[in-house]
C-alpha cells in the first residue's frame, strides 16, 4: 500500500481511522491527567466541580497546591540534582567513550563494545540491586575494618545518580558516536595543518561539530534521569526524587496535586523538546 497505488476506498478509510484511533489512545491518558489538575475536587475523578488553580497554588489544607507541597518540592529539587549530575557524567563519559570506539583500535575492542551496550540489556531493577549490594558491601566492609562510615555509599541520591548514569551513559555514547562517525577527519587534519595542536583541533573543530549531538544527548539524559523509576526505586534513601514521592502518593490515592505535578512535568518536557528542536536546527547548518 502506497499513495501511488490505488486501494479500495473503505480500506484507505479504515486505515486512516485506525491511525486516528491510535493517536487518540496515545493522547487520552495524558489529557485526562491534565484536565483533572484543574478540577475543583479533592479527588482526580468525575464529576467535574468547576475550574480551579488550587492544585498549583493552593496554600491551605486540604487543597495544598504543588508549590506549597513540601514533599513534592523537595522531590523536585532532588530530581533536579540527580538529573544534572547524571547528565553531566553521562555526556562526559559518553563523549570520551564515543572517541574511544570511533578513533582507536585496541585489543578486545569488540568485547568492550559489547560491555558498553550491556547496560541496555540488563533490566533496570537489576542494575539497581547490583549497585545497591556492591556499594553497601563496601560501606559495611569499611565500617567493620576501619570504623569509617561511608554514608555516600548508602542508599541515597548519589547512588541513585550512579545507578541512572550506569545505563544513560550508554545512550549518550550511542548518540554521540553516531554523529562522530559522520565527521570528516580531514577537517581535523586541516586544523592541524593550519597550526592547531591536536587538542585545539578537537576543541575548535570536532567538538563544535558534535555540539548538536552533545546537546541532544544531554536533553535525553536529563529526561531519562528525571523520569527514571525502576533503577531509582532500588537505590533511594530517605531523600526521595520526585518519581518516588509521586509513586508513594499514587499508591495511597491522592488529591489532584499529582495531576498538577504531571502538568508541570509535561510543560517542562515540552520546553526541553523545544530546546532540542532548536539545537537540531542550529546544528543542521553545521552538519552539511
Amino acid at each position: 500500500m502506497l499513495p501511488s497505488i490505488p486501494a479500495p476506498r473503505f480500506v484507505t478509510f479504515a486505515y486512516r481511522a485506525y491511525v486516528a484511533l491510535f493517536f487518540v489512545y496515545l493522547a487520552v491518558p495524558l489529557v485526562v491527567v491534565a484536565v483533572f489538575a484543574f478540577n475543583d475536587s479533592l479527588y482526580p475523578s468525575l464529576p467535574w466541580k468547576g475550574f480551579t488553580l488550587d492544585w498549583f497554588f493552593g496554600a491551605s489544607a486540604p487543597k495544598i497546591g504543588l508549590f506549597h507541597d513540601r514533599a513534592i518540592l523537595r522531590g523536585l529539587v532532588n530530581s533536579l540534582l540527580v538529573a544534572f549530575a547524571t547528565t553531566a557524567a553521562s555526556v562526559l563519559v559518553g563523549t570520551t567513550t564515543a572517541f574511544l570506539f570511533e578513533r582507536y583500535d585496541f585489543r578486545f575492542k569488540g568485547l568492550c563494545y559489547m560491555l558498553m551496550l550491556a547496560p541496555l540489556v540488563i533490566p533496570g531493577v537489576i542494575l539497581g540491586i547490583s549497585i545497591l549490594a556492591f556499594s553497601s558491601q563496601i560501606a559495611n566492609a569499611a565500617d567493620d575494618a576501619f570504623g569509617i562510615e561511608l554514608n555516600a555509599l548508602r542508599p541515597g541520591l548519589l547512588l541513585v545518580a550512579l545507578g541512572q548514569f550506569s545505563f544513560i551513559a550508554t545512550i549518550a555514547t550511542l548518540v554521540i558516536s553516531s554523529r562522530l562517525r559522520k565527521f570528516d577527519r580531514s577537517l581535523e587534519e586541516a586544523a592541524l595543518n593550519l597550526g592547531a595542536s591536536p587538542f585545539m583541533a578537537i576543541v575548535t573543530v570536532t567538538l563544535p561539530y558534535l555540539a548538536p549531538a552533545l546537546i541532544g544527548s544531554a536533553l535525553v539524559a536529563f529526561l531519562m534521569s528525571f523520569e527514571n523509576f525502576n533503577t531509582t526505586l532500588m537505590l533511594v534513601g530517605s531523600d526521595a526524587p520526585l518519581t518516588i514521592t509521586m509513586f508513594d502518593r499514587m499508591k495511597q490515592g491522592s488529591t489532584p496535586v499529582l495531576n498538577a505535578v504531571s502538568v508541570f512535568l509535561m510543560l517542562g518536557s515540552a520546553l526541553l523538546g523545544l530546546v532540542s528542536v532548536m539545537a537540531q536546527r542550529g546544528g543542521r547548518g553545521a552538519a552539511e
Partner: protein, 376 residues
C-alpha cells in the same frame, strides 16, 4: 635559486607494501610543481608525508631549507588545500580564513585586517560573514586557498582540489589557480591524476608511478620527450605497439610490430637489435590522406612510415575529432582528423593512407608502461 621544498630518497612502506620508494625532488622558490600519477601511485602518501600526517620510513624532507624530522604537522611551514577542501562548516568564511591566525594567538584586530586583505585579493571582499554552504564551488576553492595563504606558508600543498568540480568550472579554475599562484608568488605543490591540470598549470611536473618518479620535467618535455614508456602512455594520447627491433643504427631503428607492421622508429634509450620494445606514436603526428589514386603531392621520404588502410569510423569531437583507421594487418589506429577532411562527407570504408615520421615514432624498451604490457 633556493629550493622551498626538497625531498631526499623518501620511502614509505606499509608492511610489505611500499607506497613511496626512494623519491627525491627539489622545488625551486615560487614555482608551480605538480605530481602527476594514476590513483594508487603513492602521490597521496608523498603529500601526506610532506604535510606531516604520516611519517616517512626513510629519507628526509626539507621545507625552506629546514629539516622536517620530528616537526608535527601543526608546526610545519606548509599548508594544504584538501581534496574536499575541508572548510570548517561550523564557521563562516572569515572565521575559516582567520583560523590559523587565531591559533598563532594573533590580536583580533590584526586578524580582521589580514582576513579582510586576503578576502579582497580573492574577490570575496563582502563574503566574510557568509556560511560555507552559501558559497559556490569556485568560491569555496578560493576560500580554501586563502585560508592557507593568509598564513604565508613557504609551500602550499594542493591535493587534487579540482576533483570535485564539474568540467566547466574545473577548466576555469585551472586558469584561476595559476593566476593566484602568480599573484601570491608562493611555491605550489599540486598533486593530481589529471594530466591536463598538471600540464596547463605547472612549471615542472613529476610523473609518478608505483611509488617512483618516472620523469621530472617541463610539460613540454613530458609531452614531446617522454623518458619512459609509462610517461609516453600516460601523458597525452598515443597509439602503442609491442615490437621487436629488426635493425639499429644509432637511434634510428627498424622494428616489426606484433601485428606484423614494419616501422621506422627512433630509440629514446639505446636499444639493441632483437630487443623487445614498446613503440608509441601520437594521433596528431599521424597524417591522413584520402587515397584517391592521384599522385602524392609530397612523396614519402625514407624516414616516414606510410600505410594504406580504410576509414573505419569518424569520432566527431570538434577540434579533437578522430579518424579511426583499420590497416590491412588489422591494427586500428586513431589519427587527428585533418581540417580538410572534417567538413567532407568522407564515407566509412573509404580508402586512406596514413603517414607518420620516424622521429615521432618513439621506441622504448618493452614493459613498464601505463597500458600494461602485451609485448611479443
Amino acid at each position: 635559486m633556493a629550493n622551498d621544498l626538497e625531498c631526499r630518497a623518501l620511502v614509505k612502506s606499509y608492511g610489505a607494501f611500499t607506497a613511496v620508494s626512494g623519491v627525491s625532488l627539489a622545488v625551486p622558490k615560487g614555482s608551480f610543481f605538480s605530481i602527476l600519477g594514476p590513483s594508487g601511485c603513492g602521490k597521496t602518501s608523498l603529500m601526506r608525508m610532506i604535510a606531516g600526517f604520516i611519517e616517512p620510513t626513510a629519507g628526509e624532507i626539507l621545507i625552506g631549507g629546514r629539516s622536517m624530522r620530528g616537526v608535527p604537522p601543526n608546526r610545519r611551514p606548509a599548508n594544504m588545500v584538501f581534496q574536499h577542501l575541508a572548510l570548517f562548516p561550523m564557521m563562516n568564511v572569515a572565521d575559516n580564513i582567520g583560523y590559523g591566525l587565531r591559533r598563532r594567538g594573533m590580536a583580533k584586530a590584526e586578524i580582521a585586517r589580514r582576513v579582510g586583505a586576503v578576502l579582497e585579493r580573492i574577490d570575496l571582499a563582502d563574503s566574510g560573514p557568509k556560511r560555507i554552504d552559501q558559497l559556490s564551488g569556485g568560491q569555496k576553492q578560493r576560500v580554501a586557498i586563502a585560508r592557507c595563504m593568509v598564513l604565508e606558508p613557504t609551500v602550499l600543498l594542493l591535493d587534487e582540489p579540482l576533483g570535485a568540480l564539474d568540467l566547466k568550472l574545473r577548466e576555469h579554475m585551472k586558469v584561476e589557480l595559476k593566476q593566484l599562484q602568480h599573484q601570491f608568488g608562493t611555491t605550489f605543490v599540486y598533486i593530481t591524476h589529471d594530466q591536463s591540470e598538471a600540464l596547463v598549470m605547472s612549471d615542472q611536473v613529476a610523473v609518478m608511478n608505483a611509488g617512483r618518479f618516472e620523469q621530472v620535467g617541463t610539460p613540454e618535455d613530458l609531452y614531446y620527450r617522454p623518458a619512459t614508456p609509462f610517461v609516453a602512455g600516460f601523458v597525452g594520447d598515443s597509439h602503442r605497439w609491442g615490437a621487436r627491433i629488426t635493425a639499429q643504427a644509432g637511434s634510428d631503428l627498424r622494428v616489426e610490430t606484433s601485428t606484423g607492421l614494419a616501422l621506422r622508429a627512433s630509440a629514446v634509450v639505446p636499444l639493441a637489435e632483437g630487443a623487445a620494445s614498446s613503440v608509441f606514436v601520437r594521433p596528431e603526428a599521424i597524417e591522413v590522406r584520402v587515397a584517391d589514386g592521384r599522385p602524392d603531392p609530397a612523396p614519402a621520404l625514407a624516414d616516414v612510415n606510410v600505410f594504406a588502410g580504410r576509414l573505419e569510423s569518424l569520432l566527431f569531437n570538434g577540434a579533437n575529432s578522430r579518424a579511426m583507421i583499420r590497416l590491412a594487418r588489422g591494427d586500428l589506429i586513431g589519427a587527428v582528423l585533418p581540417q580538410n577532411l572534417l567538413g567532407t562527407r568522407l564515407g566509412e570504408g573509404a580508402a586512406v593512407e596514413i603517414r607518420f615520421a620516424a622521429a615521432a615514432t618513439l621506441a622504448f624498451p618493452a614493459g613498464g608502461d601505463a597500458l600494461g604490457g602485451d609485448a611479443p
